[in-house]
């Protein structure tokens, strides 16, 4: 429950961390004090609705955007002043894979590959072939799905220790999506690659994420292990007559037309649901990840 804590100090042991991150665009505040640190080797799924601030958070975490306040670090270095060694250990795939459209897929991989000491040219060539990407067609002329896959090959072939993917599956068909998830899980499992990926496809999270962070309206509402969510969070329903007894700390709160109240609540340190759940007529419903997302985001 990071958002409810005071801004934390930046975790210098984490491959990727931010503390007290704030940022605004002319039309309003996008990040409102985000603290987040990825554990080495973890696969963190960053989930949130469209416009929640996921892409802005990722860009700020990687030093591609100068935040209004707060600090981001990559492998212990300030993200805005990363050296070449830190950059060589990370790979990033942006949400819109539209860069360098004047190159062919082969040219792009050749170009980028020259900068990475650990570049796996064999993997790049083989994956290009396996994913049936026309190697000599200009990137500008490829379909969005094909371009996204070329960008994923670019990221994976650099053999990164930290892989950051911003909605990597958005333009992929189900087969390509499954292949991508398998590849990411493999990298995390076998090579210990730390992965941060943003998405709003809950099933992708359930498949590979070891941790989940939920960004809502610029705030990180929860950050926990993926397996814990079912145990840790639930929907508490209180009839109208008891709504006054609703706990103050709740991830979301929704009043129904009949006056009854639905809240998303969390177990306390002793593993207990809030006291109101023990009132007669109160009901605690288990929540799947998708239900939890919908309840909180609505």
């Amino acid at each position: 429950m990071n958002a409810q804590l005071a801004p934390a100090a930046v975790d210098t042991t984490s491959p990727l961390s931010v503390a007290g991150l704030r940022h605004s665009y002319p039309d309003g505040e996008v990040l409102r004090g985000v603290d987040l640190a990825l554990a080495p080797g973890s696969v963190l799924g960053l989930i949130g609705r469209n416009g929640a601030g996921k892409s802005t958070l990722i860009r700020a975490m990687l030093g591609l955007l100068e935040p209004a306040a707060g600090e981001a670090r990559v492998f212990g270095q300030p993200a805005l002043r990363m050296d070449d060694q830190a950059k060589a250990r990370l790979a990033y795939v942006p949400q819109q894979p539209e860069a360098l459209g004047w190159l062919t897929a082969t040219q792009l991989l050749d170009y980028v590959g020259r900068f990475y000491p650990g570049w796996d040219a064999r993997f790049a060539g083989k994956t290009l072939e396996r994913w049936k990407i026309p190697p000599n067609k200009l990137l500008a002329k490829l379909s969005p799905g094909e371009r996204q896959r070329v960008d994923l090959i670019r990221a994976l072939a650099s053999q990164p220790e930290l892989l950051v993917l911003d909605e990597p599956a958005a333009a992929l068909d189900p087969v390509a999506r499954r292949e991508l998830l398998r590849e990411v899980a493999l990298r995390a499992g076998e090579s210990g690659t730390t992965v941060l990926f943003s998405t709003h496809i809950v099933s992708d999270l359930e498949r590979i994420a070891s941790d989940i962070a939920f960004l809502h309206e610029g705030k990180l509402l929860l950050h926990c292990a993926a397996d814990d969510t079912k145990e840790r969070f639930a929907r508490l329903w209180l009839p109208a007559a008891m709504s006054a007894a609703a706990p103050a700390a709740a991830l979301s709160r929704r009043r129904h037309e009949d006056g009854s109240l639905s809240l998303v609540v969390e177990r306390d340190e002793r593993g207990q649901w809030p006291e109101a759940s023990r009132l007669t007529g109160a009901r605690v419903d288990a929540l799947g990840l998708e239900d939890l997302f919908v309840e909180v985001a609505e």
Partner: protein, 496 residues
């Protein structure tokens, strides 16, 4: 629907930048026409006024009115009732309104009917330009020269001749039929085929939005995507990598910055030389068909060569820095594309090394070319024995362009770039100053120290004042951009 709402359709169906640019050009033509008409009574003033207005009409109908077609297409694709008819009606009403204004302006000189016919011809030709395939559309631009050439062999009447009206009306009707046929076909074109359509308006159009078609270079990515393979640049990756940061950055900057293979360079040269060849052929035709004229080929080469060299110098001096700076500005407008790759790319070195490499990659060519042009201008001035002030004009123009290239590039790389309107203002002033200098080059013989224009101190003083003011503004932009760039932790941070 009320006529006012119909006319506003175009305004609502285009991006603000497009409508202000095109609307501004049209209004400028109209204002010039009215002012000239008021200050310069008589036939000659009337003709100039009408031509200024017709230039605005051509621009309006080539770049704003095609939004009607895009709207009609969208309406059909999205199955929105009535909108397709509204778009067509708006085009019809706008045509009538334009012809009406033209007729009113030309009443005193050509007469209402003739002026209306001429306006109808210009607007139909402008509209056809946007609806026809690129190479055919380009030929429309040569029509005035072709008409002049045809006059030598065919009984084509001159502007004053009352028989012109029927010629213009027939030509306008012909273009009208072409427009109607193209409109019918393009509106019904399947979405899957739209990308391959060769019509200018479809090629330049934004992916999901109406109105990228403004002739100002917007929607470049779409053009990159739709450009045929043989016209695409052939990237040369020979000197790329951590040891070659300048070359590597040029690849990432795209467009004119990309190092090309020899074959790619030849292709590019040919595509640039193509329109020039068409121009040369047209000019040769005009000269060869002149009755009784003995064509002196040396004279022809001189007559064509000097304006072409001056035009080329103008394009190089002004175009290269502006296009380079605009490309940089476009790349730095979003952190989602090239900056997302460059910002985390290892091997480019420290931020200071990257800054230096970036400045070399973006500024080397505009700076070198403008320095060479300044030297060439000085040599021409010395050889022609031009007055001091005319020499200054010839040398100052490339130096101003050089300064503009540096200023606008640093501005684009800094924290807060100039707003679009300020950029337009600076570019407009620069274009005017450089245009005067180019004309100075063309009229060099008139500007000799004892020539008729040599001692025109008021004119030259005004020129110098504008040039100095512009240099001051550019100097300020340079300093501000350099400060902004230096303050950034690394140079790959997008604006906003």
């Amino acid at each position: 629907m009320r006529p006012r709402d119909l006319l506003l359709t175009f305004w609502r169906a285009t991006y603000p930048s497009v409508r202000w640019l095109v609307g501004g050009v049209f209004l400028l033509g109209l204002v010039v026409a009215i002012v000239v008409r008021l200050l310069w009574p008589g036939a000659k003033g009337g003709h100039i006024a009408l031509l200024a207005f017709e230039a605005g009409v051509a621009y309006l109908w080539a770049f704003l009115m095609p939004a009607g077609l895009l709207l009609a297409r969208d309406a059909r694709q999205l199955r929105i009732p009535r909108l397709e008819v509204v778009a067509a009606a708006a085009v019809g009403l706008a045509a009538l309104a334009t012809i009406g204004i033209g007729a009113a302006l030309g009443r005193a000189t050509l007469g209402e009917t003739s002026a209306a016919a001429l306006t109808a011809l210009v607007l139909a030709a402008g509209f056809a330009f946007s609806l026809l395939p690129g190479p055919v559309a380009m030929l429309i631009g040569l029509l005035p020269a072709a008409s002049d050439a045809a006059r030598r062999v065919l009984p084509v009447p001159t502007l004053d001749d009352p028989r012109s009206t029927i010629w213009w009306a027939v030509a306008a009707a012909g273009f009208g039929v072409i427009c109607a046929i193209r409109w019918h076909g393009l509106v019904r074109l399947e979405a899957s085929q739209a990308g391959r359509s060769s019509a200018m308006v479809m090629r330049m159009r934004g992916k999901n939005a109406t109105g990228h078609w403004d002739g100002s270079g917007a929607g470049i990515r779409i053009v990159d995507r739709r450009r045929p393979g043989w016209l695409q640049p052939e990237t040369n990756l020979r000197h790329i990598g951590p040891a070659h940061p300048v070359g590597s950055l040029r690849v990432a900057l795209g467009r004119g910055f990309v190092p090309q293979t020899l074959r790619g360079l030849c292709r590019r040269g040919l595509t640039m030389a193509g329109p020039m060849l068409v121009f040369i052929v047209a000019m040769v035709l005009i000269r060869a068909t002149r009755p009784g004229a003995s064509v002196s080929w040396l004279g022809l080469i001189y007559a064509l060569g000097i304006p072409m060299l001056a035009g080329l110098a103008f394009m190089l001096a002004l175009g290269l820095p502006l296009v380079s700076a605009l490309t940089v500005r476009q790349r730095w407008s979003t952190s989602q594309r090239e900056l997302a790759v460059l910002g985390v790319l290892p091997g480019l070195g420290t931020p200071d090394r990257v800054r230096r490499a970036l400045l070399r990659a973006t500024l080397a060519r505009p700076v070198v070319i403008n320095l060479l042009l300044a030297v060439a201008g000085w040599i021409v001035a010395q050889r022609m024995n031009l007055s001091v002030i005319a020499t200054l004009a010839l040398v100052a123009a490339p130096l101003l362009c050089l300064l503009a290239g540096v200023a606008l590039t640093l501005d684009a790389l800094g924290r807060q770039p100039l707003p679009g309107w300020a950029l337009g203002l600076v570019s407009g002033a620069l274009t005017a100053v450089v245009l005067i200098s180019t004309i100075t080059g063309l009229l060099a013989s008139q500007l000799q120290q004892d020539g008729p224009w040599a001692g025109s101190p008021v004119l030259w003083s005004a020129y110098l004042v504008v040039a100095l003011a512009l240099a001051t503004v550019l100097g300020w932009i340079t300093a501000s951009g350099a400060r902004g760039m230096a303050r950034q932790p690394h140079p790959f941070l997008a604006h906003g």
